[in-house]
């Protein structure tokens, strides 16, 4: 286990942010910590990356205790925080060389490493421009590049795509995907279920400072039920008449029918409804999203 916490607690004044968090992360995996604002995601990352001390419990990262052996932990990890931690008034290249020097690279090696990372993250053209002139996506890419200067074993990403446009987000996801293929363990937090779904092997849902669900994206989705068909009718009476032949649940002009998602089943449902002389306006298939999981979990926990 590259990360192992036991009974981690953290309070700020009278507010309990973490109430006994137990987490285990296997080396080489991607864990997404999912939760609404204030669930304790950032606090967890701050504790694991040695920035904040827990009030109770223990946390081991790469085999070292985060409180007692912080220096050893720092040698193994990198952190990309919620706000791009880059120097606005330095160029992209200067930022990277600076980090490499701080990581102990000699000057020529630092320059070479900076060049390599600029190329890898598509920042070569902007290398000698001040970061102030970068777009949000470029900033995030530079921020990620700065975290990779020393090839960490474990990378913390705190909401890596919050505030990015869809294109930049996809670019970030691709970059993170490359890292996973290189074998870097990734511990990320996100509010976007799509992001967790796409990147993570395992998703831990955090709510009010504790774990409310833990599993793969598929397992979590299955826990709230399978695919369904949503049929929309011209009026509520039609929906009820259709319900008499197909079953399911009617809500106003819409009827939801449980389904396996196959074409055969869709055909049969439509045939049944038409045979009952009811007109269907629209049909849509609905696969449960992590949003459904999230909503049902946090509703129960609250």
């Amino acid at each position: 286990m590259i990360v192992e916490t036991e009974g981690l607690t953290k309070r700020y004044g009278s507010t309990t942010v973490l109430s006994g968090l137990d987490l285990k992360v296997a080396e080489g995996s991607v864990l997404a910590l999912l939760g609404p604002n204030g669930a304790g995601k950032t606090t967890t990352i701050r504790i694991l990356s040695t920035l904040t001390r827990p009030d109770g419990g223990t946390a081991q990262v790469c085999g070292f205790d985060v409180a007692r052996e912080a220096a050893a932990v720092r040698g193994m990890i990198s952190l990309t925080g919620q706000y791009a931690a880059v120097d606005e008034e330095q160029t992209g290249r200067e930022n990277l060389v600076m980090i490499a020097r701080l990581r102990g690279f000699a000057r020529p090696a630092a320059r070479a490493r900076a060049l390599e990372l600029l190329e890898r993250f598509g920042l070569t053209d902007a290398a000698d421009r001040r970061v102030r002139t970068y777009s949000g996506g470029m900033r995030r890419r530079l921020d990620l590049a700065m975290s990779l200067v020393a090839q960490p074993r474990l990378l913390f990403l705190d909401e890596p795509t919050t505030g990015l446009d869809p294109v930049s987000r996809t670019t970030m996801w691709d970059a993170i995907g490359d890292l996973v293929r290189d074998g870097v363990t990734i511990f990320l937090t996100t509010q976007y279920l799509e992001e967790a779904d796409r990147l993570a092997d395992r998703i831990v849902v955090l709510h009010n400072g504790g774990v409310v669900a833990d599993g793969t994206a598929d397992a979590l989705k299955n826990s709230v039920g399978g695919t369904r068909l949503d049929l929309t009718f011209p009026c509520a009476e039609d929906a009820l008449r259709a319900k008499a032949v197909t079953g399911g649940t009617a809500d106003g002009m819409t009827l939801s029918v449980p389904s396996d998602g196959s074409a055969v089943h869709l055909h049969r449902v439509l045939d049944d409804v038409l045979a009952a002389r009811v007109d269907v306006l629209r049909v849509s298939t609905h696969r449960p999203t992590l949003d459904d999981v999230f909503t049902s979990l946090t509703a129960v926990a609250a």
Binding site: L51, T52, R74, E89, E94, M98, L102
Partner: protein, 247 residues
């Protein structure tokens, strides 16, 4: 060591690119000096004798501006999340502050140079020997170093860049309650003890005596104040920086 040097390089590069900082550090002290010499100088004595009197005071006043911008840049780093990146790396915690302090001293050196240069044009004729100059600059350097560490500490505790800039208010005010601009003897009797015994007065008196080649009476006192302040401010700032992770 490499970490501190890298941080020094960073802070100096950042100050070079921050036009406001440069203005604050150089133009303001020069303008203050011109104001004192030409506006008040005639009333206080003659322009010629007053410029010789006031230059050390202006030099100390400009360290206050310098300290304020140091505190503001430290707070800026603290609030922008840059500090989180540095703190999550295996480098000595206070190398970041060392970078700020050294850059602060460098900005002050530049300001001192500019003030002395303009003062010479305005008729400043110090009688000091080269040794006197070196000693005077040495006394000033120790004071600036102490003040910069103090400013770094303020920068760490300040809640925002705006509140860090409040330091400037005190730094602007305190030199007036010293022998920087008028002799302490001219102040009301209740104010005199404050002005005589505050740390800035011996520093100014020593620098003034050295530059004007007069006998130095408060040299050890100036060194003791600055040295003591340096040790305390360094200890305080690094202790504060180490405590950030309790939050």
């Amino acid at each position: 060591m490499t970490a501190s040097l890298t941080m020094i390089g960073r802070s100096i590069r950042l100050s070079r690119r921050n036009f406001d900082l440069v203005i604050m550090a150089i133009v303001l002290p020069v303008m203050m000096m011109a104001l004192f010499v030409y506006v008040f100088g005639g009333a206080i004595g003659s322009v010629q004798s007053y410029v010789d009197y006031v230059v050390p005071g202006i030099l100390v006043l400009s360290t206050g501006y310098g300290a304020t911008s140091t505190a503001m840049s430290v707070t800026d780093d603290m609030k922008k999340g840059v500090v989180d990146r540095f703190r999550s790396m295996p480098i000595n915690g206070f190398s970041l502050l060392t970078g700020h302090v050294v850059a602060s001293v460098a900005r002050n050196a530049l300001a001192t140079f500019a003030v002395v240069l303009v003062a010479l044009l305005m008729g400043f004729r110090p009688a000091a020997s080269p040794v006197g100059w070196v000693l005077a600059m040495g006394v000033l350097l120790l004071y600036v170093l102490a003040l910069s560490w103090l400013a770094a500490g303020f920068g760490v505790v300040a809640r925002s860049v705006e509140s860090a800039s409040l330091l400037g208010f005190f730094m602007l005010f305190i030199p007036y309650l010293s022998s920087a601009f008028v002799p302490v003897e001219t102040m009301p009797s209740w104010l005199r003890p404050v002005s005589e015994h505050q740390p800035i007065t011996p520093v100014i008196e020593t620098v003034r005596a050295l530059l004007n080649d007069q006998p130095v009476s408060s040299g050890w006192l100036a060194l003791a104040w600055s040295g003591g302040l340096l040790v305390a401010a360094f200890g305080w700032s690094t202790w504060l920086f180490g405590r950030i992770n309790r939050r």
